[in-house]
Amino acid sequence: MSIFSKRRRSSLLAEFASPEELARALEALRTAGYGELETYTPFDMPRTTPALGLRRPLLPWLVALAGLAGGITTYWIQWFANSWSYPLNVGGRPLHPVPAFIPATFEGTVLTAALVAFFGLFVSLRLPALWHPVFEIDGFERATVDRFWIEVGGVQSELDARQMRHIANEAGALRIVPLAMEDR
């Protein structure tokens, strides 16, 4: 029990043997009005993403901005170094040679954008976090191998739970596990 926990939240997890069954169950749960859905799958299943009701990611915009900032900064560094701070006359060549500054500017753009994309990915997913409540479920390690899980959060009443169990079983769930977790 963490001292930061405010309330206990419970969810139900259903395990499936195939991605097809997971997709079917997910659709049925979505139709039945369950809002807090999450899947755990061994590989990316883009077609199930809409059912999770996620917002459009902000990260691509952040990456674009970072790229722009990186490019401007790299150009500025070159201009500052070679045209302003220590203008070097090499055979009368221009002191502010725009084409010569392009290659490093391009590299600076790509580098900054890639760093923000990479670190943005893990920051936005709140990783690294080596422990998660779902890891406590026996056999959950097969979620990265050959098992497909759906988590239904925000199950308020016994009726909700019973309906969820019914839908999941109908779709071919192998088992259904309740999970109580601290809400962070």
Binding site: P19, L37, E38, T39, Y40, T41, P42, F43, D44, M45, P46, T48, T49, L52, L54, P57, L59, P60, V63, T74, Q78, A81, N82, S85, Y86, L88, V90, R93, P97, A100, F101, P103, A104, F106, E107, G108, V110, L111, A113, A114, L115, A117, F118, G120, L121, F122, L125, L127, P128, A129, L130, W131, H132, V134, F135, E141, A143, T144, V145, D146
Partner: protein
């Protein structure tokens, strides 16, 4: 009406794609264990190879130490041949790296399915080739401990790198290329590290893979964000494939030396880079495929496609060779004409020039023949020839241009010293050492990507299409089925 149309479609399909992208019939659990088994099993052969690689690495360390202690006067370089082996090795290694990014980044943007099972291996090759590539210019600095002078930082001397020179561009390009490749590679690796964590025998390995997997749990929202970032990184890495070797080529083409001063250099270098890298991908992939029994996930389709790419880039290279010689003749410039029409084909390094031309232009022509594109022996031997031929190309470009420039009285022949050879051969050891470590500890076939590919293939053969077509016809239209029935 529908009947001939379908027959046409079936015909086209098998002609264009005679081989399946995967033939593996294992279920997901068995497939996972099969692909991960190399990292759990020990073998004596691995240790023997690792020892050989370690000894060669020691040769590299020794030669590098010798260079640093005594200075680059221990190399064969001297005026006028101020650049020789080290820059040849640098350009060669960095060129090899390009194929990995080409396969992992370019092909994902082009939605090429066959990249799924080979991209990690190719991208690892990129990283290790770049490590080697970076070491050569560093040693060439003469005083490598001042390498940070290449980075623009505010110092008390108020002196800055000169960005009108192509060499600081190189620093930016190579550093960016390595960093982005590493990030892209690691991003792709995270889900598989999680799989390795969850299949690891024993607590220690579970913990180590667990730490590197960063707590990945395959949640839907994780996959969504991951997909977005992976495509972004691919999009960022793709222009790097074009830009890095272009920048490297500018080191030469900006100089006014005949043989270097040419506008064709950037595309010529990029084509040559991907060409040599694809050859090295095959050199690594063919033994790995055989040793770890991966013929079902790295199929003839992969070999066929890579061979076709080698042929395509080889033709681009042939065109560049011809274009260079033609422009030299057409320009009417005495020095250009001398370099291209006399010094290279008839000069002191003529034998290298002709071996290079034969290796790089004639060898890929084998791949016009469909049967040779899937013949592992031919593929391997051709790759070795191309791989070595591309080293010679860089040597010819660099040394034959330098050793006979404008003033005949300053002409001088170049011969490498033992330190030059030690560094070149040693760098192969460094590469092999890193690559063997990679094979031993990292899931080198992307497990989750292959499983996703299988899922997609299954879905395409799924109940929807089965309802409309009788089974015999499905066997005709689906190349995968054809393969199974053979």
């Amino acid at each position: 009406m529908a009947e001939p149309a379908r027959a046409m479609g079936a015909h086209d399909h098998t002609v264009l794609e005679p081989y399946p992208v995967s033939r593996d019939a294992r279920d997901d659990a068995a497939l996972t264990d099969h692909l991960l088994s190399p990292i759990w099993t020990r073998s004596r052969a691995w240790w023997i190879l690792f020892t050989v690689a370690g000894l060669l690495t020691l040769l590299f360390v020794f030669s590098a130490t010798w260079t640093i202690a005594k200075g680059i006067g221990t190399w064969g370089n001297n005026i006028p041949v101020a650049w020789a082996f080290a820059i040849t090795d640098f350009v060669w290694w960095i060129g090899i790296g390009h194929a990995g990014t080409f396969i992992s980044a370019f092909l994902i943007l082009l939605a090429q399915r066959w990249r799924a099972s080979v991209n990690r291996l190719a991208e690892a090759m990129t990283l290790f080739a770049l490590v080697n590539a970076g070491l050569f210019p560093l040693l060439h600095l003469g005083r490598p401990w001042f390498f940070y002078w290449l980075i623009p930082y505010p110092s008390t001397t108020r002196v800055w790198p000169n960005f009108r020179s192509a060499l600081p561009w190189d620093v930016a390009a190579v550093a960016t290329y390595f960093t982005v490749s590493l990030l892209f590679w690691y991003t792709g690796l995270v889900p598989d590290l999680a799989t390795a964590r969850d299949r690891a025998p024993g607590r220690i390995r579970r913990m180590i893979y667990g730490i590197f997997a960063l707590g990945w749990r395959g949640a839907g929202r994780q996959w969504r964000q991951y997909r977005v970032v992976y495509i972004i990184l691919a999009g960022l890495a793709t222009p790097l494939v074009i830009s890095v070797h272009s920048v490297v080529s500018l080191d030469f083409s900006i100089a006014q030396l005949p043989g270097w001063h040419s506008t064709i250099f950037p595309p010529y270098f990029v084509a040559g880079a991907i060409y040599s890298g694809l050859a090295m991908v095959l050199m690594l992939m063919l033994p790995v495929r055989r040793i770890f029994h991966l013929e079902d996930v790295i199929t003839e389709q992969h070999l066929d496609r890579i061979a076709k790419l080698i042929l395509a880039t080889g033709l681009m290279l042939a065109y560049s060779y011809m274009c260079e010689a033609f422009i030299a003749w057409y320009s009417g410039d005495h020095f250009e004409r001398y370099t291209y029409l006399f010094a290279r084909p008839r000069g002191p390094y003529a034998w290298l020039y002709w071996v290079m031309t034969a290796a790089n232009i004639v060898t890929p022509q084998l791949f016009w023949f469909a049967r040779l594109r899937t013949n592992v022996v031919v593929l391997f031997l051709a790759s070795v020839v191309i791989w070595a031929g591309m080293w010679m190309e860089r040597f010819v470009i660099i040394v034959t241009s330098l050793n006979r420039d404008f003033l005949p009285s300053s002409w001088h022949l170049y011969a490498p010293s033992w330190v030059d050879w030690g560094l070149l051969v040693g760098s192969l050891g460094v590469f092999l050492l890193l690559f063997l470590a990679f094979l031993r500890w990292v899931p080198f076939v992307p497990v989750s990507e292959v499983k996703r590919l299988h899922f997609e293939l299954r879905r395409e053969e799924g109940p929807l299409s089965a309802g409309h077509e009788p089974p015999e016809e499905r066997a005709v239209t689906r190349p995968r089925r054809v393969e199974e029935e053979r």
